[in-house]
Subunit: 314 residues, 2 copies
């Protein structure tokens, strides 16, 4: 398929890898005419690591790069495209203008998707004549390493648009979470936020240390979640399945619930503890190196998951 990346920063260039890896043509446009070329150069630097981890679907870096086409003119970038992924700044007035432009120049059949993590689609597509083909497809960065993508329709998005977007994302090896309607935080930030609120509360109340929370996830809860998710995990944690689990253990959770109705300010005194603990583990000047380490660990984890799904089953 023919695709366009609108906005070639951190998020846009990551999408470009995912789309081109799947064999799609990718036109890259940015308000800054130098940005698409910089994005292509950045991508060229990442591809050898992906190839070494067998994460290029058997293709070569050169073949992938040949599918990336920086385009200076917006109308030209959008001519004949099937799918558009927008990655401009997270300001509602910017996105309102961009979506009006996209709708004007892209073929009627094209899906127009935004990468926004913070804005509801209704806030920036209401005025767009083709709003029924607009929606949010929000990645966890970087999407070429993390499959999950939230597909969030506006109140005016056609079901056909949602289906086309989800099918396109699946063709790229992504795992779409198809939302029934929009809600602040979408799904993943709501789930992450619920866990983080409790984590900050436990540290603020002096129950647990920052490192204890991280141990509890990386050596505990997140192991099973990383290949099953939370519902399948509890389904297998009681002899009679998920209903049995809820009947046996809901009492523990409902007993806890009243004590979590209080929010701790993450930037308040608790941040002294959180920041001191993290900076003792990792100096501020090492954050960049650690991000590269994280991405290498993510690549190795994905390669492992694919092998395990193949050898042991999904």
């Amino acid at each position: 398929m023919k695709t366009a990346i609108i906005g070639a920063g951190f998020v846009g260039r990551a999408w470009a890898i995912s789309f081109a890896r799947a064999g799609h043509d990718v036109r890259i446009w940015d308000a800054n005419p130098a940005a698409p070329h910089a994005a292509r150069d950045f991508i060229a630097g990442i591809l050898p690591d992906l190839e070494a981890n067998d994460l290029l679907n058997g293709g070569t870096p050169d073949a992938l790069l040949a599918r990336l086409n920086p385009v200076a003119d917006l109308a030209e970038a959008l001519a004949d495209v099937d799918y558009v992924q927008e990655n401009t700044p997270e300001r509602v007035e910017v996105k309102r203008q961009v979506f009006a432009d996209l709708d004007q120049h892209a073929p009627e059949t094209a899906v127009l998707a935004s990468s926004t993590s913070a804005l509801l689609p209704s806030s920036f597509v209401e005025h767009v004549p083709g709003r029924s083909r607009c929606l949010v497809c929000h990645p966890i960065n970087p999407p070429y390493l993390i499959p999950a993508v939230e597909v969030c329709p506006s109140p005016w998005t056609k079901a056909e648009t949602v289906d086309k977007a989800a099918a396109f994302l699946r063709s790229c090896g992504q795992a779409p979470l198809v939302m029934k309607r929009e809600i602040d935080g979408f799904i993943m930030n709501r789930l992450q936020g619920a866990l983080l609120e409790e984590a900050f509360r436990l540290v603020a109340d002096g129950i647990a240390g920052v490192e204890d929370i991280d141990i509890g996830l990386r050596d505990g809860l997140a192991l099973r979640w990383s290949f099953m998710g939370p519902f399948e995990t509890i389904d297998l944690n009681a002899p009679g399945g998920v209903r049995d689990y809820a009947e046996r253990y809901q009492g523990i959770y409902s007993g806890i619930f009243p004590s979590v109705q209080r929010r701790v300010d993450w930037t308040g005194p608790v941040m002294e503890t959180v920041e001191a603990t993290r900076r003792a583990k990792l100096g501020a000047d090492q954050l960049g190196d650690r991000q590269m380490w994280r991405d290498r660990r993510l690549m190795a984890l994905l390669a492992h998951k694919r092998r395990a799904a193949n050898d042991i089953g999904e």
Copy 2:
């Protein structure tokens, strides 16, 4: 060290593997005199899989089995032990009696740890003369596959007891989360509960399907959490680290907070949806096979994590 497993059911026999694998002597006692022998037979059936995944620390199944000693008499099981792990039924009156018995028969220097997931240590050790050496060491099952263990002191537990328990658990390859004081749900069930409450709410409100939630974790959030935990994850998700992250994104999370002050009854109408979805994916008669699949996937994940930590760094 000399250890005793008190209560040889699902949890007790899992601990026995962890302790014996680390080279500790393990006496196994149960109120039902047949149970320790059944536990040993059960363990013998699991060890080949652990050996195949290089999860026996280089030892052999026979050597590990030789360290497991079913003992019929409680006083004999406790003679000369250094560490006792209690795994009797989750009823406070049972544990009150058991801890009185343990304290009477075990040497003064021994640590007395309970596996309880539901009871606070203060509820069953207050009357015990040696309560200062009693605490909770709560595993995520099975502990021979999942390193995290919550170490929860009662108000009377000596700091020395906490340190000895944590050091013993580390000697077994476990990853202790050392709590500063007791709280309902300890740490991991509070974090899991926070996420599950939001998951049930999203399904009950018709925002997301059960499978979408599982995708969001297994193909999204839990990937990074499985080798970093949530605090390190957000520390790497903003250019200036964790404080920068909180300053940039707290607004999203605080905006969500008011909408999560409502609890959905997990066993209410939402369970029809959850159960129907899960049973369509996995028949009730397949739960046992799937649990064995889960444990094989866990073993492969642990082997991967060890390799990745070695090759890429921790």
